[in-house]
Amino acid sequence: MIELENLAYSYGGGELLSDVSLKLAPGSFHFLTGPSGSGKTTFLKLCYGALVPTAGHARIFGKDVREMTRDEIALARRRIGVVHQDCQFLDHLPISENVALPLTVAGRDVQAESQNLADLLGWCGLTPRAGALPPQLSGGERQRAALARAVILSPDVILADEPTGNVDWEMSQRLLHLLVELNRMGKTVMIASHDLGLIRAAKQQVQARVLRISGRRLQLAGADL
């Protein structure tokens, strides 16, 4: 699915990530942890082609990011659902249309998928807010909407950057459950999170591997969590 090989990245100063190698196998479930500023968001951006590695290789669905055209990256994004840490929306469109946006831009018939959309909004607890505009949502509602938008196309890979940062425990369990369900359906999931409680909870439901960014390297955290 996504393959990183001796990858390094720097924003221009010193290297933020060095010598990172990782293969995301289909159907795997990963957590990504590390101190704030260690490069989790950067790492995820490398995984969906928003950043190009300064050294080494990043391959998405078998293609080297460096050789992909902009259109190929766009098409790859339809197979990778991304939940941004700072969820951004089209502020002039209601939540339901924002969640359906990946369908719209992929040229899919939004009407035909309206039941899916309604189910998904219901699952994320957004049904009462479906007609609201993004600026009218709370931080947690925005995160749920971002997650719904990330999974509406039923992507092969889901990359979520702190998807539960602003929601209460119960809601975070719900969202986790959604991701676990998707993983059981064969989707590859990677969640960047500080929330050790969430990671522990996930480990009871699914076989999750925990990666930690530490000292610019990516390490596999032990079973001590």
């Binding site: 790859a76 994004r77 339809r78 991304v82 929306f89 002039h92 831009v105």
Partner: protein, 300 residues
Amino acid sequence: MTVRSFAREMLSGDASADRVVPPSGFTAHLTLFAAGVMTFLAVFALALSLATGRLAERWGEDLAHASTLRISAPADQLGAQTEAALRVLETTEGVASARALTAAEQQALLAPWFGPDVPLEGLPVPQLIEVVETDDGFDAAGLRLRLATEAPGAVLDDHTRWRRPLVAAATRLKTLGLLSILLIGGATAAMITLAANAALSANAQVIEVLRLVGAQDRYIARAFVRRFTLRTFSGAVVGLAFGVVAILFLPAAQDQAGFLTGLGFQGAQWLWPLLIPPVAAAVAYAATQRAALRVLGALT
């Protein structure tokens, strides 16, 4: 892209692509206004070109038509002087051909004044010689001198010659008119490019979100391109309407009036201004497409 798919894309409208970019009230009106003004100006530049073109053509024909040599002499000398004048003309540089008009032709020329029934044979009518010039024309002063000795009764009437510089001026005006149309087109393209760039940077977040959810550049560009193309087209239609009305209400041309009052379109020429809105829309389409793809290409 074929014309048909282009038209379908613009008219039927991928409304979804349109909706993803927030509406932009004020700048939309500015684009509309500017497109209208540009079209209004283009209508006049076009009218100027076409009118001066017509004028140059008509006067040019008159010029090519010739000058006239009129020989007034006592009846017994008329024939000899005519022959002498023809000889002179034959050897004059710049004269393509010269021909004495027959009595019947002269009668036909004079009929409007005298009526068909007046017998010209009995009147001392001067003999007319039609002189056709080469493109370079002849030296009128030199010809007059030679004629004065060979055929003293000959008068060279080159009344159309004063028009020669005017034809040159009319041709120049026509070129200037066409140049103005090109410049107006260029200014429209520049203006739309600026407006499109402003719209693209104002919507940076929209573009980022669309890109994140897998929209291709073509899709993102279309939302902007469609907007500016339609806006320019509507603005141009309004500008065209005003321009045409203004031209219709110009004082009517009179026969001897200068080209200014003849400004306007005649017959099939009315089809030309109708081309302005589609051409303006095409210019807007190309300009926005280029601006959008350039801005998008620079993003990650």
